[in-house]
Symmetry: C2
Subunit: 492 residues, 2 copies
């Protein structure tokens, strides 16, 4: 799986100095991708003595991780979350539990302030669903997170699809897919009203002589009466540094793309092939442009799992070692969940073809995601797919020296038009340490990675992406129509 | 307001050594009572240059507070919370906002891990409502908090009554009072099922040779179908040190007392007079006994605000200084909210009597709460009440040297049958520092306050109250019937 430099344009970026990654992009954003659970994208590594993912229930794990990421100059720590396990494989949660494939799971909001207390220039983005709680509760919690992290907070908006999650919440059936996105759109608009539209910038104006701390006339009561939500309240938290947290979204379905093109500032994508991603990214940028947004202000982050060594051989040896601990069934559990195909129904070594299946569309989409141009697999069987997915999930795995992996990442950026990566880990600690010690220095030598902040410099999550001063939503973001001074009482 | 030592029994406790506070109680529990807002129980002090409550949106405030409380040997930091402001006074939120009377407000769960990371023997208890979110969400969040605090987490269960909160959540009308408690009772039972009944103690049994981390057969799927809630899920978090957090409750209404006697391990009470509290506490202990619980295992914490000096004169001078900053209207806002009486309808200096009012019951109850035996107020007007409430809220204020205040607290314990106090602050920093430097050493000299833990000693929140080893619910607590080994599928 070591990457090949098969793009002529890459050479420029390799020579160091002020490289141009194409489309005006000069620098790569790296997020560390983790989850408050055991087998995140590489199930089975808990058996590896080097791996400490079973210690994620302690603060020490998170504090040490945050310090490492800040030391290396990561953009953000992104923490996925879910309310249910993967129960597509065998229509049961049993193997999800047994293989610790993203189960059990703690709440990612909880360790954030312990990490924020020891860092200054690292963002924290978490996944949260629009399907399960009233918007006011989330608005209050996230404003608090943005205050306490001093503007380092981001939100990965999901609408949730797992049956298990809906049963845990007490809803009989998942809301239908497209309907969920309509609901999510209204949810976001309620949040913009609270975050952007409720408080004037100068609502807090302490005036001790008049026993007056804040001016109620400058804090608007939001009256929202929509299809899904009703609310009649001021926002209970004064404006945090970013007001609206930096907004991420994942998913490239039709309804998902429309939603992402409207609301997302950062978009997570996963595929084994940049050529599969390229048209999806292009389409979302076009949709964003059609909505009046600068298409380049939508930043795309591809999942990418590096296995780094000081030499090619060292990296390859690491990969061979890691494979020993990978859980094939854990991989089947995750892929079945992600694709909606119960892979237990197909013999482990029988080739999967779209034509054979009653679920042609799903199988084709899965095979597309796994197929790369540089690799020739004789036949895609559940076993081959599971073993591939058990190291790095649905994203590519780059194996090699820092130079080789950097070349591969540059190729991805150029071929798929990415802006950065969500770096998955195989073991923790392990992968992120290697990125900090080997990969980031290589990217910096090429002039395509930000320097560490100087002295007291502290930027918010949004400033780190859009530049100093851009703490609040960009003017071309649809949330901006809800900003206090231009708020329309009859806005949707 | 300096207290008098009017109880003969107090003398024993004053002489140091192994004092007996009565009813077998040997030691006082002190919680620090705070809220992630500006004017908590003493509105207006934000104008006092000594007060830094407007910095509560930063982690530094909470980290310094937690360190101080641990240094002093406080039992817990208790953080109140709400989803709405006080809008009874003038039927509007305007003066609540203007006087910063518990508004705005951040989420108390957020700064907890930043505090837990710098402490070891301090509990964190927060208020959360049973009325606004599905139990599964709260179960996951609180299990996470109990894991990350290493068993230092407590929950003050509330059912919520503020109209403003229901309007923010999107519910047209508050649920009727008694109905709320029925709903809360079912909510708790769903939580016990998840926390106590879902996971066997040995469900996690890593077996690398068989690629097996946890045994799905030892993790029960909870199937709950009740009047208010439906759930069909395993708990998504493995057992935390306490499983069920230490349970607090406030409120001495009829439905509230029934609920508290069933579920609460700690109960918060507020009154200006121990003789008003005594029968209420007695009644709840009787109710608890009737349910098969040891009545002494229910611990009562009275709100108490000390104003301490090295001498009586110094304390009195502090009090006079603090009064300068107290907000009378802020006091009216809070008392109107707490009592349900809109005090704006009564002229500021007109005497309030129960007979005059259309709300006789509410007014009598309010006057009862304010009336003390040791103090003679010529007439209870809104102004007198507001000025009293603007320092220390509905609880007593003890002014004097450590000796005087300690005497007063001992008297309260003996007269009302309390187990400890929720210490309110007037300024922060200020009040809690004085408690650590002056009051706690005095209580320790009398042998009625726990020593600091030795060396590596670390107890959970529940162990600190019930003794070493009692990390889980006591056997006589009704949540214990849901424990894994004795779980009945048809339990309510």
């Amino acid at each position: 799986m070591a990457s090949s430099n098969n793009s002529g344009e890459t050479v420029q970026a390799l020579n160091g100095g002020s490289a141009d990654l194409g489309n005006g992009k000069k620098q790569i954003f790296l997020n560390a991708f983790d989850m408050s659970t055991i087998g995140h994208l590489s199930p089975g590594q808990w058996k590896n003595p080097a791996d400490k993912s079973a210690t994620k229930r302690t603060l020490n794990y998170w504090i040490e991780l945050a310090k490492l990421l800040e030391k290396g100059g990561f953009n953000a720590l992104f923490l996925a979350d879910t309310y249910g396990g993967y129960d597509t494989y065998e229509q049961s949660l049993d193997n999800c539990i047994r293989r610790a494939a993203q189960w059990p799971m703690t709440d990612p909001t909880i360790p954030i302030t312990a990490m924020a207390a020891v860092t200054k220039n690292l963002s924290f983005a978490i996944t949260a669903s629009t399907s399960f709680e009233p918007p006011f509760l989330l608005a209050k919690r996230f404003s608090s997170l943005d205050h306490f992290t001093q503007g380092q907070f981001g939100w990965n908006i999901v609408t949730s699809w797992k049956k298990a999650a809906f049963k845990a919440i007490g809803l009989e059936n998942p809301i239908e897919h497209d309907e969920r996105y309509h609901q999510a759109d209204e949810y976001l608009r309620v949040l913009y009203k609270l975050w952007e539209g409720s408080w004037a910038e100068d609502a807090i104006s302490p005036d001790p002589a008049n026993d007056s701390y804040a001016d109620p006339d400058k804090i608007r009561t939001i009256k929202h009466q929509g299809k899904y939500y009703t609310l009649d309240s001021r926002h209970i938290v004064d404006p945090s540094p970013q007001r609206t947290p930096f907004l991420f979204q994942a998913g490239t379905s039709s309804a998902g793309s429309e939603f992402a093109a409207t609301h997302a500032e950062g978009i997570f994508v996963s595929s084994h092939s940049p050529t599969v991603l390229k048209p999806k990214i292009e389409k979302i940028r076009e949709l964003a442009a059609a909505k009046g947004r600068d298409p380049r202000s939508v930043k795309f982050f591809g999942t990418y799992t590096p296995i780094l060594g000081r030499t090619e051989e060292e990296a390859q040896a690491k990969y061979e070692e890691l494979k020993k601990y990978a859980s094939t069934i854990g991989g089947l559990v995750l892929v079945s969940g992600w694709t909606g195909i119960d892979l237990s129904k197909v013999p482990l070594d029988q080739e999967l073809t779209a034509a054979d299946s009653v679920e042609q569309h799903k199988v084709r989409s899965m095979l597309d995601a796994f197929t790369t141009t540089s690799e020739h697999v004789p036949k895609w069987t559940p076993r081959v797919i599971a073993e591939k997915a058990a190291i790095g999930g649905l994203g590519p795995v780059g194996i090699g020296s820092a130079k080789t992996v950097a070349d591969d990442m540059v190729r991805w950026i150029q071929e798929a038009d990415l802006d950065g990566f969500n770096i998955g880990y195989v073991t923790t600690p392990g992968t992120f340490e290697d990125v900090v010690e080997l990969l980031i220095p290589e990217l910096r030598r090429r002039g395509i990675y930000p320097d560490l902040p100087k002295g007291d410099e502290q930027r918010t999550a949004r400033e780190r992406v859009y530049g100093e001063g851009q703490r609040r939503l960009r003017e071309d973001h649809p949330g901006s129509v809800y900003k206090y001074d231009r708020y329309q009482e009859d806005a949707p």
